[in-house]
Every structure is written in structure tokens, then in C-alpha cells.
Subunit: 157 residues, 12 copies
């Protein structure tokens, strides 16, 4: 009972739909995690990291929307509800409470690394069935890898 008719075959739509749904959940969680540490970071580097995290939130939100609407565009209903995110995100839950600046940097390197690893698999998986969706995943991975580099550079002593 497809509401939105896809240009893809059923099989291709299944593969691509899974990749996009997974990306959507990871990106929503990335935005929530980045906001959580944006509010709770403490330490001498507070201000710099506080601002840096809002840039991560901004790109995570933008790409979330693109990925979710791409799912709709190929006829797959996207699911970005809180419970779905809590259950299926690829990011390890962050601690609650205040968090030291150095710890925030390590948290973000790890969270971005987890998401990037899964995005790389999605890029491979979607290449044949849908180069249009793949192009979107490639573009957002470039942004994620750029932000991981910057947190890695900051983690160096």
C-alpha cells in the first residue's frame, strides 16, 4: 500500500530505506548528544567547545532533514521518534551531569567515529541500488569526518 511510489525496485528500496533510516537515527542522536554536552561542559576550554558543539548540532540537524526527506522521496516512511532513537542509535549513551572539557572532546571523537563507520557501510550498500541517495550520504560523511578531525586535533597533548 505504498503512499509514495518509488522510482526504485522493491528490493533496492529496501536496501536504501534501511541505510537512510539508520542514518536518520544516528544523526538525530548526534544532535541530542552534542546538545547534551554543549549544556554540561565545564573546564577552561568551556566557551570554545560550547560553540564548536553547536556547529555539530547545526550540521546534524540539516543532514537529518535531508536524509529523512530522502527516505520519503523513495517511498519509505522515516522514523525519528525519541524511543526509536534511544533504541537503535549507533552512539553509546553519554554520561549525565557536568562533564569536563577534555572528556567532552573524547566523547565527540568517539561518537563521530561510531557514526562515520556506519555511514561508510551505507555508502557502499547504496552505490548500486541508488546513486542519488549515496551522493547524499557521501556529502554528509565529509562533514562528519571534518568535525572528527577537529576534535581529534584538540584531543592531542
Amino acid at each position: 500500500m505504498s503512499v509514495v511510489k518509488s522510482t526504485l525496485s522493491d528490493e533496492d528500496r529496501g536496501v536504501v530505506g534501511n541505510a537512510l533510516q539508520g542514518a536518520l537515527v544516528d544523526l538525530v542522536d548526534l544532535s541530542l548528544v552534542a546538545k547534551q554536552v554543549h549544556w554540561n561542559v565545564i573546564g577552561p576550554r568551556f566557551r570554545s567547545i560550547h560553540l564548536q558543539l553547536d556547529e555539530v548540532v547545526a550540521i546534524a540537524r540539516t543532514h537529518t532533514d535531508t536524509v529523512a526527506e530522502r527516505a520519503s522521496a523513495i517511498g519509505v516512511s522515516p522514523d525519528g521518534r525519541a524511543a526509536t532513537v534511544a533504541k537503535t542509535s549507533g552512539i553509546t549513551e553519554v554520561q549525565d551531569g557536568w562533564i569536563k572539557d577534555g572528556e567532552v572532546v573524547r566523547t565527540m571523537v568517539s561518537a563521530l567515529g561510531a557514526v562515520i563507520g556506519r555511514m561508510r557501510e551505507r555508502i557502499t550498500a547504496t552505490e548500486k541500488p541508488d546513486p542519488v541517495s549515496q551522493d547524499i550520504l557521501i556529502g554528509l560523511t565529509a562533514d562528519l569526518e571534518k568535525h572528527r578531525w577537529m576534535f581529534q586535533a584538540e584531543a592531542h597533548h
Copy 2:
């Protein structure tokens, strides 16, 4: 042991911290719910409601940030993680899958109504202990009630 020293007494901080933490969770969930139906709405009124929902997302995100940073400002660590939102939100979980436009309108009237009811209680609870936090809650409730009116007006036949 308090990282951020509060201008409030311990007791007042407890009351106000609860109110702000509750508001934070409700507002994060409101933004996730509004995005969920923004992506999944179908029916003749698709475009109008699709755009209207992004206005709800925008105000929910802005007020989330204000409320969370207000909690930090009074020395209470805010918690906006996915699992916390999934567990403690005041909004009934929305259905997954495509959702008809009329149903989206009813969903939003109900979600906004649930959040507003709790906000009204928080306005009362914070009046004495912290008029500064109360003023923030009053301001965001005005926005939520305005949006509830607009969805109610649309729900009329």
C-alpha cells in the same frame, strides 16, 4: 561539590531545577514529534502543515536551549538525552508510518495541550522560588498556546 554555584537556596534550586528539567524534556520531545509528522504527513493539506510544523520545531528548539541553559545557570545539570526524553516526556508517543493531514492536526493539538498543562503547573511552582525562571516559562507558554490555537482553528469543520 556544586560546579556552578546558584543564587538560589538549595530548596528553591530543587523546585526550579525540576520544573526546568521537565520543561526541557517536553520541549525536546515536541521538536522530535513535530519533525516526525513533518516528514510523514500525507493528504491534500500536506504542504501547509509541513511548513507549519517546522515553525513548531523552530520554537521548540529555541526554548529548549533557553530552558537547558537556565538550568545550568542556577546550578542544575540539564539532561536532554534520547533515553531520558523517551522515558519522561509528557507527550504520548505518536504512531509510526505515514499519517493523514487531519490526524496530524489532532496529534499536534493533543501534544501541545499535554505540554501546556505541565508548563502551567511549572509557572505556578516557580513563582515564589525564582521569578527569573518563571518569566522564561511564561514566555514559552505564550508561544505554545499560540500554536495550539492555530492547530485548533485548523481542526474545525
Copy 3:
């Protein structure tokens, strides 16, 4: 047969609805009066007062919209029609024809004073039944009192 369901009790809604309807009429008339003298002012101070009046028009229009939509938000249908304004405004009708600059200043001090007096009563009346509406009335009164000060300062010789 309430089209828009209110979060307020019937009694509170009555009180707050009256305050908002009164504010709405006063603000519409304030914008019409300020435009009337904006077009008809003559005298050496023409340009300065002509521009100053458009600032009054701008804030009167903005607050009119906020107040009218607040009435809708609490389930009370707002009435800003010309006849209603002509009949129930708190501002004494201004003279027709060209009007000297000094006279314009006195007219605005008096018109703003009349509206402010009524707004102060509405702030008191809405405090208990609806702090959200009260906050809106407080905010617009600050603007009106600022403009009254400026016209008073100009009236001094």
C-alpha cells in the same frame, strides 16, 4: 460552543478576554490616531514628529497583533472592526484638518496617557487569572510609557 478550547476556566477567560479586547481596541485606535497626525502635522518640527509618529504606529500595530492573537489563543474571538474601535476606544477623538506640531505633541501625550491608564488596570486584573496574558500587557505598557516620556520631554519649554 467554544471553537478554540481554552486552558483557562470560564470565569478567568471572561476576565482576561475583556482585558485583551479592550487593549486591542485601544491599540488599533492608537495606530489610527498616530497616522492621522503623521499626515496632518505642520510647523517647524514637522519632520522630526512625522518620523516619531511612525514609530508609534509600528509598535501599536505589532502589539495589536500580539494581543488579538492572544485573545484567540485563550478562546475569545477578537473584534478590531472600525465601528467597534470608533465606539469603544479609550482615546478622545482627535480634531480633523492640519494640526500644529506643538498640538500634536500634546495630543500624543494625552492619547498615550489614556491608553496607559487602562493598561495598568488590565495588568492588575489579569495577574491572577492568567500570568501569560499579563506578561504581554506588561511588555507593551513599557513601550507605551517610553513613548509617552519622549513626547513629554518634547512638550517641555
Copy 4:
């Protein structure tokens, strides 16, 4: 005792002054009527019409100012006070209370139609005595007829 000396003869100024005064009243009332239904519209098309009406308000206000200042420029004192509008407007008074979206559309088609009919007569009346004022009336009539078309298109089933 003409405060502002006109480039027009007394007779021409009389004809043109009447046309501009009439246009001014119709345009003020159009802005008040459009705001009234902007606040009171209900029904599934609420949001679309709510926004559309603010565009009518915007052009009505802009042309009001142009027309009133044109009257001043030819030496005729303009009158845009609430009572004058209530008494001499060409628009039938709209009902109070909530108003269904379809009814709003019909109201606007009729209100715009009434104003346009009178503007057409003013275009004819001012052609000889003052092509400068006529050009202003022609320009605003184009805007009014564009908006009437759009409401008419929406009124079609």
C-alpha cells in the same frame, strides 16, 4: 487659508481630493477587515488564508500611506480617523466572531470588489485634473485586482 499650496486649481484639487479621501478610507477599512478575519478565521484552510490576509494588510497599509500623503501633497488634509472610516467606508461591515474559511474567502472577494469598483471611478475622475494622482490610483488598483483574482480562484469548487 491653504497651509499647503497646491499645483492644482481649486476645482481640480476638489475633485482629486475627494477621490483620494475616498480611497484612503476604503484602504484603511480594507486593512482592518483583513486583520479582523486574519484573527477569526477557522477551518482546514486556516493557515493558508491567515497568511494570505496579512499580504492584503501589507499592501492596504502601504497604499493608504501613499494616498494620504498624496492628498497632503496637493493641499488637502486627509482624514483616516476610526469614526470617519466606520461612517464612509465602501466595504460592508463583516460579522463578528469566528468565521469559517470559505466564508472568509467570499468576504474578501466581496470587500475587494467593492473597493475596486470605486477605485475604477476615481481613476476616471482624476485623469484630466491630475495624472499624477491617477497614476497612484492605477498602481494600487492593479494590486487590489490581483488579490481579488487569487481569492476568486480559491472560491472555485
Copy 5:
């Protein structure tokens, strides 16, 4: 007698040139068709669809320019003249006269579907000979499929 020397071999240039010329014609026609129904749509959903169509026109025009200049960049003279568009467009000619809103939605789903099908073939055809041109076609197809989803969502009852 190539005016603009290509980085591509003659054979590759032929294949890619055909793909780009076809895309150019489809996109010009898409912009003309969208404007045609933008002006002629009638029915209760007039305003929403009228605005939505201008977004299609905007993306069609932007991509038309990119595709045409890409043809020039690989040394192939682009042809976007009215007669060429009328003869070789992949979109079925739309009816003349006023057109009901529901019919407009169906027309756009079908027009976008026809163009997307041909774009998908062009993506495949250009992959080997010119990944630079392919990337442009992938990017614009994402936009077209997003708009087709939105019209499909609106077509649902």
C-alpha cells in the same frame, strides 16, 4: 571545428552531450509547465499550490543553467530554443485554460515522473564517460524526486 575544446574524447563527449541536451530541454519545459499551472490553478488549495509551483520553477531554472553551461564546458553547444523544447521535451503537453487544484497536483506528479525516469537513464549513461556531468545529474535528480514526493503526498486522500 570545435570552438570549445573538451577534456573528453569525441565518443564520450557525444554520449554526455546527448544526456545534457536532453536534460536541458526537459528542465526548460518543466519550468514552463510549472509556470503555466501556477497561473491557471483554481480551487480551494490555490494559494498553497501556486506557491509550491514557484519553488519548482526556481529549481528547474537553476538546474537548466547548470546543465546548459556544463554542455558548453565539454564543448557541446546547448539548444534551449522554444521550438526545440516544444518538439523534444519528455513532458506531455498540459491542457490550456483554468485547471482544478487536484488536477494540477496529478499533472505535476506525472511531469516530474517523466523527467525523473529520463534523468535516471542519463545518470547511468554518463557514469563512465564523465563522472563530473553525472554528479550534476545526480544532484538535480535528488531535487526532482523530493518535489515529486511532495506532490504525491498531496495527491493522497
Copy 6:
């Protein structure tokens, strides 16, 4: 049977409708012709003319929209489809392929001249039946004649 009721008599509407439909077709074609040579121009003056042509495209598109919506506003359905343009445009079809800069200038002088000649007739034809439409035609002719002057100035050796 008229979807959009006109303020004009049937006869006047016929005359004005013809003028506007003709103007619409000429302007759409002008934008297509200007884009065609914008992409295909070669020679030392390439960049200057390439940019100049996009200014012609911009004014042609803006006036196209105004003219088409004016037709709708007087109750005449506008027709801007590719085949209609190809068949009824007043501009001689331009050559395909690369085109030397001097030749582009001559092409534009001639295309603009053809359109201007027909616009002048439409200005005369619409004066009595509809000064509102005439005013629109006068305004766009000023723009066209300005651009023809600039291309003529460039054609001079």
C-alpha cells in the same frame, strides 16, 4: 462559466486579454532567446555580453509573471506553454550553435525591436479599455527600450 469574474466588460476584456496574451508569449520567448545566446556566445566580448543577457532574462521573467497574472486578474486564462510560444512569438527564431559576440548583439537589437514594436501597439490598444493593464505595458516597454539602447550602443563601430 467565467471562473474569475472581470471588472471589465466582455468586449474590453477581449481586447485587453489579446494584448496581454501576446505580451506574455513575446516575453517568454525573449527570456528563452536571451538564455540561448547567453550559453552560446563566443568571442572577445563573451563575458560582458554573457552577463548583460542575464539581466535581460531577469526582466523578461519578472514582466512575464506580471503580465500573465494580470491576464488572470481580468479573467482571461494565460497560455505560456512551449508550443504556444514556438508558434506565436513575435521574435524570429535564432540560429543554433555557437554564435559570435557581434552577431549576438545584432540578434538582441532585432529581437528587442520586434517585441517593442508589438508592445507599442498593445499600449495604444489597451488605453481606453483598461488603463491598469496599459500602465503595466508602459512600464515594461521602458525596460525593453532601455536594453535595446544598450545593445545598439554596443553595436556601434
Copy 7:
């Protein structure tokens, strides 16, 4: 021998060319006169009049350009050189040296009056030979008369 070929007959071009050349000179001089008193005004109203004069300069410069390029567009070479302006302007030369604010206001009322009188004649003269040029003269006269009203209003005691 004509560099820029006109759409007008030789006779019409002569009449319209004279009107435009006269308007050009008057407008250049108006901008120079307004700047002269902008720099030399003294007295309690200095700042208000200083700013007001720059608005006159701005509209004079904008209309100068439009009028001069309109002359070029009909094939008549415009002449805006200092000596031509000094010799043929319709504005009486203003005094040198510091000038009291009240005197500035009277100077501007008189300068604008002189220019407006000549513009009115040009509107009449161009009506038949070229409604396009006439429309430009009508539009700028509206601006000049608006500014004259404002200086007249200020001249009133």
C-alpha cells in the same frame, strides 16, 4: 546618422527629447542645490533639515539617471555637463555662504516649485508622442510634490 535608432518619429523624438533634456538639467541642479544647503545650513533645526536634504539628493540623483537614460533610449544624446546645468536650469541660483534653517526651507519650497511647474508642462507635452516617457515624468513629479509638501509643512508657523 542616428547612433541609437528610436521607436519614435523624428518629430515626436524632438518634442520628447526636449522634455527629457530639460528634466535632466533641472534634476542635476536640484541635487547640487540640495547638497549646497545640506552643507551650509545653520540654526536649531540643522540636523533634521540636513538629513531631509540628503533624501532630496537621493531622489534627484535616481531620477536624473532614469531621465538621462530614457533620452538615450529614444535616440537623443543627453547633456548634463556643469556649464549646461549652470546655463539652462530652471532653479534660481542659491546664495553662497552659511544659510539659516528657515531660509533653507523657503529655498527648497521655491526650488521644488520651479521644477514641478516645468515638469507639469513636460507631462502634458509628452502625453501624445510618448506615453512611456510621460509615465517616467509622472512618477518623478509625485516624488517632487511629496517633498515640496514636507518643506511647506515645515515652513508653517
Copy 8:
């Protein structure tokens, strides 16, 4: 003898005037102190703190203006002269000369803390006599407490 007539009783005006005058002095000094350390800060965190301090200056200046004009609006002449600030500010004078980044952070935590403590008392004092002034004090205290949190977070090791 009152130049600006107040809506408040003499007694209320006295209380509120004191609160506003005190707030004005504290805010002027806060802006001077923040600028002083903005120019003199040294150490590895120089740039981040240098920028952060300008945000404090910006909000201090904005609120200073609001508070001073509020005093005028209730008929109390505000005093923000250097000597008055030097004598009555609630902030302990900062050291002269270069100042290490960590010391700057401590200085700001302490300066903001001193001002906030006094503002809290003013919020209590103005509640009954003038809710309009109180609302202004509540709003600026929210900003001050937000900035104190951020400096506190940075002070943590």
C-alpha cells in the same frame, strides 16, 4: 515641578527610581570593567575570553540604555556620569595592568555575582510598586546569570 509626569505615586516612584538608578550604575560599571579586562587579558586563553567579554559589554550596554530610559519614563532623571559610577557601583574596582586569563575569569564571576545579588533585591523591591520595571529587571538578570554560569564553568579545573 516634575518634567516628566509619572503613572506611579510619589512613593512608588521613589522606590522604583532607586532600584533603576542602582541598576544603571552597576551596568555601566560592568561594561567598563569588562572592557578593561578585554584589553588587558593575557595568557593562553586570551582570544576566547577577549571575545566573551565583548558579549558581556554588549548586553551591559543594551540593558543600561533600557534601564536609564525606564527611569526617565517614570519621571526620574537617571545619572550615569563617570564620578557617580566610580562612587556608587556595586563592583569592587579591578586591578590595573595586564591580568592573567584565569584571574580575569575569577574577576568576572565575582563582578557578575555582586551585580546579580543587588538585582535580585531590586526585583523584590519593585514587584508591588511597578511590575513593568520589575519585568525589565527580571529579563536582564536572566542574561547576567547566564554569563555568570559560563564564567563559572570556565573557572572549573
Copy 9:
């Protein structure tokens, strides 16, 4: 123990440092004085002078920052604290309380005159030791002398 190493010799740095420190204090006080009379001015010219004073504040603040950071750049710690300003400013303290518009104009002519006199000496003193600092002092003196002219022009009767 110079924190910031200067490009100037110790002697030159002493001379230039004195000039900049003096300029800094004068400019801070100028901004405080201008704000003081901005809030306290009364009389018919209130609005014009109120706005004019904020332009003085804006340039005083901008140049203060430039001068203070120039001192830092040559290795001299700047001192802009309230007590330092109160003690060493070149401007005579202004009266407290409401102040008539004419008196405000005279106050500003005198305050600007005092600062300009000292700036002229600093321009001379810094010419040899540091043309870079001198250039900054020359630039800001141009702004101060422009504002003094405007207040002088207004002081003329």
C-alpha cells in the same frame, strides 16, 4: 617585565603610551557624557538631539576600542576604569538632572572642543615616535571635529 614587546623604543613608547592613555580616557568620558544627556535632554528639539547623541556615543565607543587596543599593541596596558576616567578626563563634569535642549547643544560643543584640543596636541606629540598611532589619532579627530561642527551649527540663532 614587558608582557607585550613593542616595536618602539622605550622612550617613544612612553610618549605614545601617554597620548593613547589620555585619548582613551577622554573618549570613554565622551561616551558617558553623551549618554547622560541623551537620557536627560528635554525641550522641543528632544528627539533630534537624542538621536544625534547616540551617533556621538557610537563613534566614541568605536574609537575608544581602537585606541585602547593600539596601546596594548605597543606594549602599554590601557586603563579605562570608572575611577580613572572620573579623575583624569579632559571634559568638565556635566550637571545632573533634566537638561534643556539648547543647554545640551552648548555642553556638547564644549565637551568636544576640550577633547579636540587635547587630541591635536597628541597628534603633534606622536608624529615622530609613531606615525601608526598618529594616523589613528588623526582619523578620530576628523570624526570629533565633524560632530563639533554639527553641534555648533545647531547652536546658531
Copy 10:
């Protein structure tokens, strides 16, 4: 008798006043000359030179204002009236009528050269009496010499 009191001695004011008055006249004429050829240029390079000339007009107008207000600031009444410009400008009068593009370039090289030569003398003359005025003349000469270089580069074959 001096309306605006100068910081300069009478002798210095005389020298500097002459320099500024001369600069003012040259710059007004430069703007008129550049506009004259902006309207009358013909030939293949029309568009490029037409645009370039408006950049000269823009800088000439900006510097005119600065120079004239600098004269006022030192107590010398500036004279920028048409007759004064026609009589005392340092630029040779340009020919009337259409003018070929190459000739325009030569005209501008020569006009800019004449003005620059006189500006160089004014820089020398004002160095001792008023470094503030000199700095303004140095700054505008940099702009004039930049534009002369660009016209010279274009004059090269």
C-alpha cells in the same frame, strides 16, 4: 562673525579652506563628467565602461561630501553650486553628444590626471597647517590614482 569656530588659526584656515574648496569643485565636476560619458558612450566596450564610470561617480560623490563637510568643520563655508563648478573646475569641458568608447577612456585618463595633479599640490599645502585635512586628501587621491591606472590599462593597445 564666524558661524563655526575653527580649531585652526585664521591663516591656516585660509590655506586649508582653499585646498578643500578646490577639491570640492574638482570632485563635483568629476562626478558630472563621469555621468555625462556614462550616458553617451557608444562602441563595443559600451557596457564595461558604462559600469566602470558609475564606480567613478560613486567615489567622486562620497569624497565630495567628505571634503565639503570637512570645510564646514574647519569653519569655511563650502561652495558646490553649478556655476561655481562650471567656472573653477580643473577639468577641461568634455564634448557633447555620443562619444566613442576609446575616446571615453582617453577623456577619463585626462580628467583624472588633471584632478590628481591639483590634489597632490593640496596634499603638500595642507601638511603643516592641518594634518587632519591632509589625511582626507591623501585617502581620496589613492582612489583617484587607482581609477586612473585602470583607465590607462584599458587605453593600451
Copy 11:
């Protein structure tokens, strides 16, 4: 001792790192070469080419940054120092001194051609090891080929 850990294998990182380092050097040199001829171009087409070259500089700088930061993101330290650029750029060194406009066009066609040839190889080399880096190279090659077309078009006689 990798500072930044890569998502790529060592071998893939080596291949992609070489491609990005090569691209970085070519793009830095392209920006330097384009600036060099931007400053030194002479001849009738000076202005048009002078402006066109700054567009090349802008895209070269933007892509340089993207490519260098992409290298960092995959854990490869980028090298854009002057000596490295001088030694390893793919662009033949341009002549010093003034350079005729036609020669500038040929220089740019050749410089762009050299860079594009090497970019095409890098697109092929990075396809398998890193589609994310490849996508960046594809995107910038599209821009380079567009600019080469425009210079080629200008080179045609």
C-alpha cells in the same frame, strides 16, 4: 605516529593523500597566478578580465581550503607553503611584467587545462579508496571546467 586517525587503511590513505596534496598545490598556484595577471593585465578588455580573474581566485581559494582540510580529515598533513607550491605546481610559471589581455586569456586557458588534466587523474585514482574525497575533486573540477570554457569562448576570434 598519526596525530589524526584515519577511517582509511594506510594504503588508501597514501593514495588519497597524494591526490589531495597535489590538488592543494595546484589550487594555491592557480590563485597566485590568477592574482598575478589580475594586477598586470593591460589592453582594451582590462576591466572585464580583471573582474573575471577575481572569480577564479575566489573559487581557487575556497577549493584549496576544502582540499587541505580534507587531507587533515583523513590524517594527512597538508603542505601549502610557498616553496612547495613553487616546486611542485602543475602550472607553468607565468611571465612577469605587464601582460596584454589576449595573452592573459591564453594563459588562463592553459593554466586551467593543466590543472584539470591532473584533477581528472585524481578523480580516477580516488574512486575506489575514498568516494568522499573523490566527490570533492569532482565538484571542484566542474568549477574549473566551467571557467576554462569561459576563457576559451573569449579566446575565439
Copy 12:
């Protein structure tokens, strides 16, 4: 065979030309060095310094352009090619590879110091032959010294 004729004598042009050519090379290299460390910086202060360096790049690029075009304006062909920069820059070559944040700060203090020392000599050298060029060198030295102060402040422990 001077392409661009100078207002300076041959001798003066030689001196000034050398100063400008030297400044040009130093500024190009400063922009390349700042970009190099912008990409390679690592350590806890990464983000703050990364952003700070882009401000240095921005001012270096802006002043480079001004200086190079000033050389052209006095008839001296500027040379900013990679090899010229590599050979004649006043900045010691920076190391390749990742670079610790503290080391970056020291590198920039030293690079800016080297350039400033040479700029001071150029200011002295150009004073007599060309105050216009000197003024440009003075202005850019102010910017360079401001940035050196900020890096010095950050270098302090």
C-alpha cells in the same frame, strides 16, 4: 616604455615601487604561512587558533591586493608569483607537518614581527617620495601590530 604613466618622478617611483613590491611579497607569504598552520595546528587550543589564523589570512589578502594595485597605480608592475614569494619573502619558512598550538603562536609572533620590522622601514622610506603609498603602509602596519599583540598575549604563561 611605461605602460602606466606615474604621477611620481622616476627616482621616487623606484623607491616607492621597491617598498610596495617588498610589502606585496611579505603579505602573500603571510597569508600562505597562516593558512599552512591553520590546517596543521593540533593541541587543546586548536579551534581558537584555527579561527584566529583565518582572520590573519583575511587581512593579509586584503592588504596584498591594495598594495599590488597601488604598485600598478604608480606604474610599477607587481610580482606575486609563487617562486618570487618563495625567494624574497621576509618570513622564515615554517616547518611542515602537524604543529603544536603553542608552537603556532610562537611562529606567528615571529612571522608578524619580521614583516612589521620591514614595514616600518618602508614607512620611513616612502614618507617623502609618496605620502599616498605611505598612508597605505601605515594602515596595514596597524593591523599587523594588532595581530602580533594578540598572539603575544596568548604566548604568555
